[in-house]
Subunit: 387 residues, 2 copies
């Protein structure tokens, strides 16, 4: 990756470090290494406030560069930092939300003279929430590839398929268009394989996670998503695959139907499209996330779909979420979120309704906040497509 891009990202982190009196960060987790170094390595990016970053790398063993040094174990770090001519940190931040307790303590113990603070990952997440021009361009390209895969979905459907079988063919389309497959989520406990296809009443099965919709899944070891049911006439189904084409988790959902649906389903879908349009018209820098959420809920209530909005039985408590290297970044469009939109934020907006006896309806797109409003990154037919 281009050095000026990486320097820009590191400087965004440095600004936040300086505000907290932190003079160095030690970055060891994959997404933050991708963000600050451009690739995953086994090792550590040492980011001083006032000097260029250094990469101390265990593996792979073929990385070279002006500020790259080999390391075998973290206990060598203080000596290596001093060999670079850098002072040892006084206040060092580590990724407290992502490093394991054991690993955090091991790293902290390497710097007995320093005050070690665990704010690393939340601070870096704050920096990451405002995307650079290059990151937005990556999202734009991802959106095109994502849409191209979804446009081919009708061509892989065959009557008599199960939700699992159709999901597998869509996963293949995504992969052929360049999707890397890996689905990165902040917080170690949420696991999902590529994304989900939810058909009929399976969309109402509650999830262990705070996901918009759940799904029973195929095995107790991986709840969520398709459950192996036959796709049947009169059912709606929603495809919600992670659009990780270049490391960034684009997000897009589209609804399909097996034959015709009851009138109420089209009305519910239309309500979600209208919510999306209202939010998109309202969203711009300075607007609080809770105002977007409250507007959506009010519209859905007026349309008579409140009981089915964002799930039934167990409901998700948001209608949108920031996206980036992980699927769940800042901001969150949820009740009581005072955070305001800023230019460069990228988020998914997903007003969704589950109708018992029919299935999931609604829409999800990825959006970038511009200086005046928002721009849609995932452009693709938004109507219910009959299979």
């Amino acid at each position: 990756m281009l050095q000026p891009e990486l320097k820009q990202r590191r400087d965004k982190i440095r600004v936040l470090m300086a505000q907290r009196g932190i003079d160095a960060a030690l970055i060891a987790c994959n997404v933050n290494l991708i963000y600050t170094y451009g690739t995953v390595v086994s090792g550590y990016l040492y980011l001083p406030l006032e000097s260029p970053a250094r990469l101390f790398v265990k593996r792979p063993n073929n990385i070279t560069g002006e500020h790259v040094l080999p390391v075998r174990k973290p206990e060598q770090l203080p000596e290596l930092i001093q060999e670079c001519g850098l002072p040892l940190p006084k206040k060092l931040m580590l990724e407290g939300d992502e490093l394991s307790f054991t690993e955090y303590n091991r790293l902290a113990a390497c710097f007995p003279e320093a005050e070690v603070v665990p704010c690393g990952s939340s601070l870096i997440r704050q920096a990451r929430s405002i995307k650079t021009v290059m990151e937005i361009e990556i999202f734009r390209r991802s959106g095109v590839a994502h849409a191209k895969a979804y446009e081919q979905i009708p061509s892989v459907y065959r009557p008599g398929m199960t939700d699992r079988q159709l999901s597998i063919e869509i996963e293949r389309l995504m992969r052929l268009e360049g999707c890397l497959g890996i689905f990165r989520v902040f917080g170690q406990s949420m696991e999902i394989f590529m994304g989900s296809l939810l058909a009929g009443d399976n969309a109402a099965a509650p999830s262990p996670y705070d996901f918009a919709l759940g799904g029973e899944g195929l095995d107790p070891s991986l709840p969520g998503g398709a459950n192996g049911s036959l796709l049947q006439a009169g059912q709606s189904l929603m495809v919600d695959m992670g659009g990780n084409f270049y490391g960034y988790m684009g997000d897009m959902s589209r609804v399909f139907s097996i034959g015709k649906l009851p009138e109420k389903a089209y009305a519910a879908h239309q309500t979600c499209l209208e919510v999306q349009e209202a939010i998109a018209n309202m969203a711009k820098p300075g607007v609080a996330c809770e105002d977007l959420y409250n507007t959506a809920v009010k519209m859905v209530e007026e349309a008579g779909f409140a009981d089915y909005f964002m799930g039934v039985g167990q409901k998700a408590k948001f209608i949108g979420h920031g996206i980036g290297l992980e699927i769940n970044e800042a901001p969150v469009i949820a009740p009581r979120m005072k955070q305001e939109l800023e230019p460069g934020m990228v988020f998914a907006l997903e007003p969704k309704i589950v109708l018992p006896g029919v299935g999931p309806l609604g829409i999800e797109n990825s959006w970038v906040v511009t200086t005046e409003g928002v721009e849609k990154l995932t452009v693709c037919n938004e109507e219910i497509i009959e299979l």
Copy 2:
């Protein structure tokens, strides 16, 4: 899952807890919840030494049972434990190797009177390393499904394919045979999507991880595996997909060739098969892992392939590893590993050679340690198959 099976697993953990004077464990990480409760939930399994386990669950909201209670946040746990009629723990173990630093400290702070020890995950990993009869049967069934997918590989190859395209078709075969797709690795830093297909010299590209073979990958955000190269005559390729059919990570690699390979390649492959046979004949309860490793290295040296064994440039320092809910469990078959095999251990044995200008050769199968020896779980043609 059957309660007697879960009780058996919990009791295996309790035996190790008792040895360390631990009177309760709080289990919050997915693989350990699958192990002790049978499914992933958002919540906590509280495991006292002397009383039945309790599940305190946040999501999904539809779990009920004799020992299941809803919980909103971990700070409620002490009160809920006492409401169950249980004493508060004196020495409580948490999953220090898996919980984030922040989450560990939050949970520990809920029990200010207790001595909190971070040995949870390593202790549970020790219990998990000896599989139950049911777990071994799950591995056996996984091996059959895994082999069935691999047997179809020649039917999806087309001349002119890239390694990426062939990999996608194999991923689809795996999914159609029931593979859940998710690839679970212990240690938060190792990421891989489903598995790898390595062809030609890409197999020699070093990995950020301690994997047997690397591969450049398709994007710097996900190094490892196929790199988009055209498959060419005279190349070998190795398929190494994770066989997670029912939550357990079966492991199997097979080699294919595009047309004929140089004679040396067949000799290298044969050496790996002979190493496998020698190790399988030698492996039984009481044999130390290092002895297996050293035997393999000696055979490979005598055959003249030492420079290419387990990678070139960057080599993996093991020839096998325990498998279970994660791909990298105990034991590790590596130098200086005094640990002895025990009945019920399940491991992958993967003697592999990378020949520059040709590609990867060798074999990988999953094995269970029986009372007398070892049994192969992944039965499928082991010769180089010409595509």
